[in-house]
């Protein structure tokens, strides 16, 4: 019962956010970057359902476009982190020896940086932009993927079907590709789902610190950052983006739990 609830609720939440993002690419109530100095900081009312910000821009429209930016960045970042992490993890786990030690030393050095600090430094170098964030967060999260993959590979190596493949005379590369890699799919699916949530969170945190997707393009994070001075006078500016982030994360987490239950019946 829990399982189905997770799946349905998580799926619905993510679908809603994704739907908002998709809608934003064809239609928003107002132009999200259009300034209207006569309607600055308007409280939520009829034409502006979620109010306007300090430049008189429509919060709802910005929120919708923010959804699309956030999801795109998260998706591509997860793909980048996965591609990098899987390569490193497979190589390190399967070949062991000095390959493993060198790759893992690098990995640990990366892990020793808290992800957000790493992204912070890198973003200052390459300059904040959507793809800069993808690269920085992708690099920051790749070590976690590499760890999981390497762990899976190390435990799979000990499984008898991998030994059986070797006993058949199959080459190492074939065994890696045919028997080891496919069996890493389940833990990676679960990881990718959680990571999707983390990236949304990290991206908004970076934006909040002023290093995320640059304005005037709206993201939830930079909307929140801009709302900070108006916490007392224009509360709605702080509420809406936060709710959106929380809802997407909740959806991701629920879906991740459901996937974990389905793919890994142990827990």
């Amino acid at each position: 019962m829990t399982l189905r609830l997770n799946l349905v609720l998580g799926g619905l939440l993510l679908a809603a956010v994704a739907g908002t993002a998709a809608t934003a690419s064809v239609w928003t109530p107002f132009n999200p970057v259009a300034v209207n100095l006569r309607r600055r900081l308007a409280a939520p009312t009829d034409p502006y359902w979620l109010g306007t910000d300090e430049f008189g821009r429509d919060v709802l429209s910005r929120l919708m476009v923010g959804a699309s930016t956030g999801l795109t960045v998260a998706l591509v970042t997860v793909l980048v982190a996965m591609a990098l992490g899987i390569t490193i993890g497979l190589l390190a786990g399967f070949f062991r020896g000095w390959t493993d030690r060198a790759l893992m030393a690098l990995n640990d050095a990366l892990l020793a940086f808290p992800g957000i600090l790493f992204a912070l430094g890198l973003l200052t170098v390459i300059g904040p932009s959507k793809w800069g964030i993808v690269l920085a967060l992708g690099l920051a999260y790749a070590p976690a993927v590499a760890r999981v993959v390497r762990g899976s590979v190390l435990s799979l190596r000990e499984r008898e079907f991998v030994e059986a493949s070797r006993a058949l005379g199959n080459s190492e590369a074939y065994t890696l590709w045919r028997h080891v890699a496919p069996n890493c799919v389940s833990p990676l699916t679960v990881l990718a789902t959680s990571m999707f949530g983390w990236v949304i969170l990290s991206e908004s945190a970076l934006s909040f610190l002023g290093l995320g997707v640059p304005p005037p393009a709206p993201t939830w994070g930079n909307m929140l950052a801009a709302a900070r001075p108006y916490l007392e006078t224009a509360t709605w500016l702080s509420i809406a983006p936060g709710v959106m982030i929380a809802l997407s994360l909740l959806g991701t987490n629920l879906l991740g739990d459901a996937l974990r239950d389905i793919l890994d019946p142990r827990t």
Partner: protein, 529 residues
Amino acid sequence: MIAPLLAVSDLRVGAKPDIRAVDGVSFSMAPGEILALVGESGSGKTATARAVIGLLPPGLAVTGGRIAFAGAPLTPATLRPLRGPGIGMVFQEPMTSLNPALPIGVQMAEGLALHTRLRGAEIAAACRAMLDRVGIADPTACLRAFPHEFSGGMRQRIMLASVMLLRPRLLIADEPTTALDTLTQAEVLDLMVGLTREQGSAVLLITHNLGLVARYADRALVMRRGRVIEEGAARALLAAPREPYTRALVDALPRRGPPAIPRPPSEPLLRAEALAVDFAGRRRFFARGRAVQAVRGVDLAVHAGESVALVGGSGSGKTTLGRAMLRLVPASGGRVLFRGQDITAVRGAALLPFRLACQIVFQDPYSSLDPRMRIAEIVDEPLRLVPGLGAAERARRTDAMLDAVGLAEFGRRHPHELSGGQRQRVAIARALVREPAFVMADEPVSALDMTIQKQILTLLRDLQRARGFACLFISHDLAAVGEIADRVVVMQEGRIVEEGSRDAVFDAPRHAYTRALLDAAPRLEALVA
């Protein structure tokens, strides 16, 4: 008639929708009696026992019937004070039945502190005495030690000590020795029976092994699919089973096969010469720990078409030797010769002829099949490397092989859709599909139920007869290999201690270790006689 110690009537245990794990079981036990509950996995024997002590796993619940202990009905309220001094329990898995985070002394003392008036030093003294009784060398040190510092057999003794310390009137023993090798198994069971006799405790022994029943139990109940199908005095039951299922169980007990046909001496197919295998110690920062010598210079030859059993307790090095001969672990000394050619250092493609000719069947059918592949793919995969084989030919041979192991209809399925026995058939099919000259079977049946073991062994023997490959059969159970082995090799501590034809070894064992192994593994002939 004495009042029964335990009376179970019409017990039903089930899980929610419509699963009936135990479906109307009734029996009673007299004080001091040893009652065996026999059945294969899924028969409901464990659920029955756990229902008695109220420790059903999450999801299962008692749905009907009555349990009375010493004349009083057992309810959750009356049960708890009875746990320990009234009813004790020994579990199957010695690796998880003691708390790894607490010293043994603490775990043993808990029960005494709760149920007796003993305090401090008295408790420690009682614990030491009991540990001494179960054969722990240094009880004082043991009290301070943690469970992981002991082997499985030792842990099971400690477990027994901890339970018997409270002098329970009824001891429930749930497959207490299944996870141990034959030799240890006998020692632990002897100890358990001895202790319970001393204390006058009754024992409810749950087992799938009829051999144990004959040896230790007064009475036995045979269970199948949640019901008791046959009941009687243990020996009588074994000697003259009434139900077909009971008969099948009895038939599944190992017995010696027909005498081996003497074969002309020939060039050995696969030969180990002074083969040694060391496992490197743990890596440290600047040095390594001491190496473990798993195999210490062994000579062993397997001839074409013959069937050799390699027997030894856990840690004897038998599995390592087998894998080293197949070049799956690197040898640290000696040579491996295949058809007279030294292959110890051959690598890559040059090794292919050897790989094509030698195959392996693993112990655990759950781990030896890639869960993501279909059965037909698994069986087909070895053919990939056979030179000059077309797709059609491959498919034909795969189908034929699956047919030969009785799985013709299963090609499209995944391993998890198959039972343990079926999976082991797949593993055998995978090993044989390339028509190898040599197959190593590493404990191929020890993870299976008795009747299934019998089927797999029969299958292996039949296939060997039909196809004429040589077979190295690795087992800890000397009796079990009696059926198929031409020759028996006994290993202890990395060395071969005895070697000879099966009948010679079985009838006139020369080495003490071989004798101990033979004694520990009861054969039916000996039991019912």
